[in-house]
Each structure stands twice: as C-alpha cells, then as structure tokens.
C-alpha cells in the first residue's frame, strides 16, 4: 500500500489545492458570499437568487465595454448600477411582505435574467448563448505581471489570473472590513434587530422597510462586483455560467464559514474550493495510477464525484458543527428556544 501511495504525487495535489483555494473561483465566491451574508446573515433576507446580481454585474461591464464601446471603468460603474437597480426592483414590491416573498421573487428573477441574456431579443447586446468576449484587455494592461506562468512553491497562476486574483482578494478583504465596520455601527445594529424581529425594530422607531432595502442594495452591489470580477477573470460573459446552482454554492460557502460572521465568506470559500480541488486531484491520480478500478470510476466521473464528497462533508458539518466554522454554538441554541 505504501509503495502504491508513493507513486501519487502529493506535492502536485497540495499545489493544486492551495492554488485553487486562492484562485479566481474562490475569490469570486468569497466576494459574492459577503453580499449574501449582508442579506441573510445580518438582515435575515432570504435571497435565493444571488447569482442574478452576479449576472447583471457581469453583463453590465461586458455590454458596456463590448457592445457600447464605453470606457472600461465606466463599465464597472454600470455593472454596479445594474446590481443596484435589480435590488430596487426586487425589494420595492416584496420587502413590505413576509420574508418568503423575497425568496420566491429572487429565485425567479435570477432565472429570468439568465434566460433574457440568452434570448434572441437581446442578442444585439448580449450575443445570446455565445456571450461577449475579449472585453477585459484594458484592465490587464495595468498588470505588472508579464511572464506566462507564475509557479512559486505551492502557488501556480497564469499572469492574468495572478493579477485579477491579487486585485480581487484585496477588494474582498476591503469589503469584509467594510462589513465589519458597518456591523459594529448603529446601522448594523438596526439590521440585526430587523433580523431578530422586524416588529420590535419598528416599534422602536426604525424604518424596517428602508433598512431592508439598503441591505438588499448593498449586498446586491457586492454580488454584482463578484460577477464583474468573474467575467473579467475569464474575459468572457456567457449566460449559462449564471446557473441557479451558483446561488446554492454561495449559500454553501456561507453556511460552511458560519452565517453572520465577517470572515466566514472568505474562509468558507477557500475551504470549499480547496476541498473540491483536493478531492478531485486525489481521485484523478488514483484513477490514473489504477488504484481505483475503472469499473468503479473513470476519470470522467471524478468531476461529479467531488461534489458528492463535498456534499457528504457538508452534511457531516451540519450534524457536528451546525453553526459553521466561525459561528457560535450559543447563538444557535438561542434559535431553538
């Protein structure tokens, strides 16, 4: 057995795991989860269509640059404005109603956005299922990295990826710090009060509707920013990258880290993507080396199996540590009362 395991390149597995947990996906999902954390973790808004904010952010920057030929930085602004408009559209009619209505509307809206983007009607702007390409060049002109490949110890990135990952993580950390500051302010206290009991907040003179709308807009804008980083990193914006399952990956990341904690989106996302890469690369090597018979699994099935493993991991976490990594057991116990 030891002889067999020695044939596996553990260094390579480690490298790919670390690079993945710091990579573009981890960064984008961490940022998106920060937005969702403002919605659900701090304000108690049930947003099941967070990918919709990413989509309008991504398409905002893509369409502005590729279709309208605008300045790329104006494109970034347009992406954020799109996300804010979406938040208003979703929030204005639903936030006066019970919490479930927002959930229904968000999940529907995110699909409507994806289907609109791939529709023939909007083809002149979005180019349908092909999507928009080659619009992110301007941003990479800022990049100081000019080598093809950066391969430092466990880190392994292309020049463009390294640039976007560094800028993205810095932005993500700044956003987390913003959330930290907001949530220790009286403004954040009102949000948390609304999460606990909206009527109590209203009875104390807080305009709950307006605060919920603000929270939806702030979290939505951060989700939009995550979408922009995603499309810039991949230099393409395609409708089918914004599948509903993305929303649930973001939820997974958030729950993994612990709901309503400042650093949980970041750590949750790193663990989520690191774990996916770890499982995938171990299995792939095992299959390639013949430790796992092709009767059981071939290399095409590895990609699917990793999600099964992560799902199992999550179930285990929910049983033994339902509050997530950063969450407090004490707070969880209060919910049960």
């Amino acid at each position: 057995m030891t002889v067999l395991l020695a044939a596996v390149d553990w260094g390579q597995i480690f490298k790919l795991t670390v690079s993945s947990s710091l990579g573009v996906d981890a960064m984008v999902f961490a940022m998106a989860a920060i937005g969702l954390n403002i919605h659900f973790g701090y304000t108690g808004l049930l947003n099941f269509g967070h990918v919709g904010f990413m989509a309008v952010g991504g398409y905002g920057v893509g369409v502005a640059i590729a279709t309208w030929g605008l300045n790329p930085y104006l494109g970034l602004l347009i992406g954020i404005v799109f996300a804010l408009i979406l938040a208003l559209l979703l929030g204005l009619p639903t936030l006066r109603l019970r919490a479930d209505y927002l959930a229904i509307v968000t999940i529907a809206a995110s699909e409507i956005i994806r289907l609109l983007a791939r529709s023939t009607t909007l083809r002149p702007w979005t180019r349908g299922t092909e999507g928009l390409n080659e619009f992110a060049g301007e941003f990479y002109n800022l990049s100081p990295f000019d080598k093809n490949l950066y391969d430092w110890g466990p880190f392994f990135f292309t020049a463009n990826n390294l640039f976007i990952v560094i800028v993205g993580w810095i932005t993500t950390v700044l956003m987390a710090l913003l959330v930290w500051q907001l949530m220790r302010s009286p403004w954040g206290r009102v949000l948390k009060a609304i999460r606990e009991d909206e009527d109590a907040a209203r009875a104390l003179g807080k305009n709950a509707y307006w605060y919920k709308l603000q929270a939806l807009m702030l979290g939505g804008a951060i989700g939009g920013a995550a979408g922009m980083f995603q499309v810039i990193a991949k230099s393409t914006v395609q409708p089918d990258t914004f599948q509903p399952v993305i929303t649930f990956f973001i939820w997974t990341v958030l729950v993994l880290g612990g709901v309503g904690r400042v650093w949980s989106p970041i750590v949750g996302s790193m663990i989520f993507w690191g774990l996916l890469a770890l499982v995938e690369n171990i299995l792939r090597q095992f299959v390639n080396e013949g430790f796992i018979s092709s009767v059981i699994m071939d290399s095409n099935q590895v990609g699917i199996f990793r999600f099964i493993t992560v799902g199992l991991g999550l179930m285990t976490l929910m049983v033994f540590r339902p509050q997530g990594i950063f969450g407090s057991r004490e707070e969880m116990a209060l919910d049960a009362r």
Binding site: D197, R202, A203, L204, N207, L334, D335, R337
Partner: protein
C-alpha cells in the same frame, strides 16, 4: 402629579381635561367579525390608564390600531393634538408613542446592552454613510450607552449586560422590553400585558417601575388581566368587551358597574339555579337526566 379626574364622568367616551390620545369611530373587522368598534375614547396625559376586558374583547387589536401596527377600517386618531391616521409604527415611535408586545420581542441574538442601545432615538450612526465613519457617531454612542447602563441598573439587569437577550428569563425579558422602550424617552408607553408570565416577586418590581413612569410624566396605557394589579396602579380604567368600550372610570366604580360584571361573568350569572321550580331550571333535575340516559 396626576391630573384630577374627579370631575370626569365615569362613562364610556367621556372627555378628559387634558387628553394626549383621542380615538373616534375606530373600527376593525376581520371578515365578519368586528374585533374593535370604539366610538370614542380619550386618554388623559400623565396618568396610568388600564385597559381591561375578557378574552377576545379586542384589547390587543385596539393596541395594534393605536400604534399603527394594524390599519383600522375607519375612524380618526389624534396624538398630542396631531392627527396620526396615516402614521406608520416607526413614525409614531419617533413622535413619542412606543409600545411593548404581549409576547416579548427581545432581540435574542443581540446582547442586552445592544437591545437597550437600539431603543435610543435620533442616532446619527443609524444612517448608512455616517455609520462608516465612527468619529461621527462614537460620542453619541457613548452617551446612549451611559443612559442604557443607568436604565439597566434601575431595572436590575446590569449584571446581564453582555449576555444574549435570548438567555434571559421570561420576566427579565419583560423588564428588558420596558427598559428598551424607555430608551426612546417616550411621552406615551403602551404596555401589552406587562405582567403576563412574570413570577409574583418580579411583578412587584415591575409595578414599581410602571408607577415610577407616571412620576416622570410619562403617560402609561396598559392591558392587564389581573384585577389586583389594575386596582394597585391604575388611575383610570377602560373596559372593553366584544370590541366596544363598555365602561370607564376609576377602578372603584368599575367593580360595581353592572355592564362590566355582565361582560366578565355573563348576564345571568347571578340567576338562581332553582332546581325545584321546573320552569326556570337551567340544569334539569338529576332524576330526569338519569332516566334520560337509561332510555
């Protein structure tokens, strides 16, 4: 000092010398059920007014209508000389009318001190843009915290300061909710069953707190079931039954009021259960019923 109400007629809808709240023609129906149908009620400033009535009399609905948590089908409400028909609960709270709830709404995952600080009005740091820059609100936050600590000491909750509100007992939550409402320096405080589910020892201290509110010039309206409590602290009693105000007056007159007795005990509660006289018997004679079963 409470105003002298001796000149006010103890009858439903009587006018008060200095009303802070005036309600007229307020109606609320749920489908076919008329939950509240109040012709006229005035609440005197600076006193403790008790709102009593049997279960289902519409007291809590009346409270909800008064504080804007429910919309009446019709009628007018005037608070401190201003019409408040179109005001939302948070606007009313800012105007000085706060309420507590029958089922306490302590914000369980906030600490006791955060619960208290939430109650303060006019916080600069509650605006999004200001909240990002702590120097703009930290001085005010310290003032609020000092005031919150004072109130916590007064309500003997200071030892729980950093605990989650969810860890408090039911009675402590009632105290916290009342203290939190006071953080907004209200002119009217509406307490919905403040003593419900509170142990007798704590009831006494809650009563003292309610009385001390009156001394500070705060108008108190409270819903209560316990007649001893009502007798002990209320200056004026409003009795509701089936959505209507059926009686008003100082508690001495309420106990003798026939309408109130009827509402609580039923109109025929003192009719004799005369088992010998066949015609008026409410319960059939035992022998008859026994025979009936055998048949």
């Amino acid at each position: 000092m409470p105003a002298d109400l001796s000149s006010v007629a103890p009858e439903p809808g009587s006018a008060k010398p200095d009303p802070i709240l005036q309600v007229e023609g307020m109606r609320r129906s749920f489908g076919g059920l008329v939950a509240v149908d109040v012709e006229k009620v005035e609440i005197q400033r600076g006193i403790i007014t008790a709102l009593i009535g049997p279960n289902g009399a519409g007291k809590t609905t009346f409270f909800n209508l008064l504080t804007g948590f429910d919309e009446p089908d019709g009628g007018t409400r005037v608070f401190d000389g201003k019409n408040i028909d179109s005001k939302t609960p948070h606007q009313l709270a800012r105007m000085g009318m706060v309420r507590t709830f029958q089922l306490t709404k302590s914000l369980t995952k906030l600490s006791v001190i955060d619960n208290m600080k939430l109650g303060a009005k006019g916080q600069r740091g509650e605006s999004f843009l200001v909240s990002i820059i702590p120097p703009l609100w930290s001085a005010q936050e310290r003032e609020i915290e000092a005031r919150a600590d004072d109130l916590l000491r007064r309500f003997k909750l200071d030892h729980m300061r950093e605990q989650y509100a969810g860890t408090l007992s039911g009675g402590q939550r009632k105290l916290l909710e009342m203290a939190r409402a006071l953080m907004s320096s209200p002119s009217v405080i509406c307490l919905d069953e403040p003593m419900a589910g509170v142990n007798p020892a704590l009831t006494q201290s809650l009563l003292e707190h309610v009385k001390s509110l009156r001394e500070e010039g705060i108008t108190v309206i409270f819903v209560e079931h316990d007649m001893d409590v009502v007798r002990d602290i209320s200056d004026w009693v409003v009795v509701m039954a089936e959505g209507r105000v059926i009686a008003e007056g100082p508690h001495e007159t309420i106990g003798k009021n026939q309408a109130v007795i009827d509402a609580y005990l039923g109109a025929h509660h003192d009719a004799d259960l005369d088992l010998d006289a066949g015609e008026e018997a409410v319960i059939p004679p035992p022998e008859d019923s026994a025979n009936g079963e055998e048949e």
